[in-house]
């Protein structure tokens, strides 16, 4: 298989992908790094000198920073909690024998294919609108005052919308993992007299642990970057300004590129921490 001729051909075939990705990673990242040390306001005079680490200090000391960190943590944590818990339950449910399993699966998975702008707007208007939304109708039906979702319960609303989008992902992966569980293992446990709950704790959950870790890591990386859902609903107001959204506002809305770039570098570092864990797991998988 590995003769000299095939090895050099292989290198040639790999080159374009490596060069493209290298360029895609290095060029913008280097620019961001450079901008982050500059006072750079494209709309107000452009480049105004080097400022060292001033942008990094200003970004973390600005009054918007900690609230944005808090918003990010609450949204990511909330969505993870909901999707992983419900995902496990749903996966177990879908693994049971039933009629029309295929159709149910399709119903459950569907939200993942809805583009973020659509799900944001549909939820915002048709469900969460305080006057005409379906949820308001429901509240009034029970005689309650409708909640003004996106301002009074803004975080909960965003978490709900994003969870609805990501629950299918968690369910699908956990279901795949459950289906790979050797049924003889469960039968052995049943023969050993383990009741349902302890079978869940001692066999199903440990078997799922790797899949759960992967779901958490991948979702975290994607959730740290959610943008469109906030863009079309609250536009970052009512405490829903996440780190990603804050950087976006600094860079494109207020055109303070230096400050935004420093924030961008923070975001890169943060994402890399999670990426490192994910890559360790995936890497182990490669060795098999």
């Amino acid at each position: 298989m590995s003769t000299k001729a095939s090895r050099s051909a292989a290198r040639l075939m790999l080159a374009p992908a490596v060069i493209l990705l290298l360029g895609w990673m290095l060029v913008p990242l280097t620019l961001t790094l450079i901008f982050s040390f500059q006072r750079f306001l494209p709309m107000r005079g452009g480049f105004q000198g080097w400022v060292g680490f001033e942008n990094y200090v200003r970004f973390v000391t600005s009054s918007a920073f900690w609230p944005s960190v808090q918003a990010t943590v609450v949204i990511v944590g909330g969505v993870l909690l909901i999707t992983v818990t419900l995902g496990i339950l749903l996966a177990i449910l879908l693994d049971q024998p039933m009629w029309g399993q295929g159709v149910v699966r399709i119903l459950v998975i569907a939200p993942f294919f809805v583009m973020p702008t659509v799900s944001g707007l549909v939820w915002k208007n048709m469900f969460m609108d305080p006057n005409n939304g379906l949820l308001s109708h429901l509240w009034r039906f029970f005689g309650a005052d409708p909640i003004i979702w996106l301002s009074d319960a803004s975080m909960l609303s965003i978490i709900l919308i994003v969870s609805w989008q990501w629950l299918p992902f968690a369910t699908l992966i956990l279901l795949t993992a459950i289906q790979s569980l050797d049924s003889e293992q469960l039968e052995a446990a049943e023969m050993d007299g383990a009741p349902i709950l302890s079978r869940f704790w001692h066999i199903i959950l440990p078997h799922l642990s790797r899949a759960i870790t992967i779901v958490i890591l991948i979702q975290t990386i994607f959730l740290l970057a959610i943008f469109a859902e906030i863009f079309v609903t609250t536009q970052g107001s009512f405490g829903t300004r996440t780190l990603t959204y804050l950087i976006f506002q600094r860079v494109l809305e207020s055109q303070n590129v230096g400050l935004g770039s420093a924030g961008g570098i923070y975001a890169v570092i943060l994402a890399n921490i999670f990426a490192l864990f994910l890559m360790r797991i995936v890497g182990k998988n490669l060795d098999r």
């Binding site: 298989m1 003769t3 000299k4």
Partner: protein, 334 residues
């Protein structure tokens, strides 16, 4: 037509040397079997000959032509793989015709040769099926068919029978031997099963850790194993190896005696012991005898009708002319 010569061939993967310098000649028309335990380098050696791996140093000559720079496709060899390696998306007919298509034969010639091979291999009824619809034995035959249509200078077999069940294996063994008798083409056959080696080979090459331990005809190896490794590897059940006092009596460090060269008696004999497990094969019975004071267990072959109870004391006498003697390095004493 198909003489293969290996001269000072070595192969290393990084720092690991799999084949130390090795010389070997396989004559035209010979059925050579590479045999050895797993990891002994026998498959690597085959792949070096095939050209699927580059040699690290040394020369491989096929019909006198040095072929380091010749790609596998143009070495004129055909290979049958352990997993059969059939193309799953092609019918049996297309699988067998593939090498002909690559060699640029026209359709009529392709069809003629495929039909011919299929007839020989009893595959005529299956030509339009896909490999997925065939049994293991049929797949094996398709793989062989794909090899023979090319009329290669030599066939290379890489453990071709190891995925078949026991009964089929015996049948395919005969078919391959039959094929060799008819074609008289050089065949190199890799296996870890010494029974396959004994039954099929003109020449057996016993390998251990990349070293050639012994080369010879099956009977040469059976009668005169050059060292303890070959002695233990060739023959089934294994040769009994005895050390200590009994060996010293024969001026050796170790002596070996095959189960079939020990006679057995209820009342008298040179050695005695207690019968443990006995395996009744019908034609033969093998007794595993313990507490002989010679080795943990001595295996003895007896006629199928002979029966001793578990725990019975029996007596054994080895045939003196069939005792193999080995020195402290494990080498045969002539």
């Amino acid at each position: 037509m198909g003489q293969i010569v290996l001269e000072q061939v070595t192969k290393s993967f990084g720092d690991v040397t799999v084949i130390p310098p090795l010389d070997l000649t396989i004559e035209d028309g010979e059925f050579a079997v590479f045999v050895g335990p797993s990891g002994c380098g026998k498959s690597t050696l085959l792949r070096l000959i095939a050209g699927l791996e580059d040699v690290t140093s040394g020369e491989i000559r096929i019909d006198g032509k040095e072929c380091a720079s010749i790609p596998p496709a143009r070495r004129g060899l055909a290979m049958v793989f352990q997993s059969y390696a059939l193309y799953p998306h092609m019918t049996v007919r297309k699988n067998i015709a593939f090498p002909l298509r690559m060699a640029g034969f026209d359709r009529a010639e392709q069809d003629r040769r495929v039909e011919q091979a299929a007839a020989v291999l009893n595959l005529t009824d299956y030509l339009d099926r896909r490999p997925g619809q065939l049994s293991g034995g049929q797949r094996q035959r398709v793989a062989i068919g794909r090899a023979i249509v090319r009329e290669p200078a030599a066939f290379l077999f890489d453990e071709p029978l190891s995925n078949l069940d026991a009964a089929l294996r015996v049948g395919m063994r005969l078919e391959i031997s039959e094929l060799h008798n008819r074609l008289q083409t050089t065949m190199i056959y890799v296996t870890h099963d010494q029974v396959e080696a004994m039954t099929m080979a003109d020449k057996i090459v016993v390998l251990r850790a990349g070293h050639v331990e012994q080369v010879g005809s099956p009977l040469d190896l059976y009668r005169a194993p050059r060292n303890l490794f070959v002695a233990g590897f060739i023959g089934s059940p294994k040769m009994n190896l005895i050390e200590g006092e009994e060996a010293v009596k024969h001026n050796a460090t170790t002596i070996g005696i095959r189960p079939e060269h020990i006679s057995i008696s209820e009342s008298e004999g040179r050695w005695s012991g207690i019968v443990g497990v006995s395996e009744h094969l019908g034609s033969d019975t093998f007794f595993h005898v313990h507490k002989t004071g010679l080795a943990d267990s001595i295996t003895v072959r007896a006629d199928g009708e002979v029966g001793f109870k578990h725990g019975a004391r029996i007596h054994m006498t080895p045939r003196d002319d069939m005792i193999h003697r080995f020195d402290e390095k494990g080498l045969r004493i002539a």
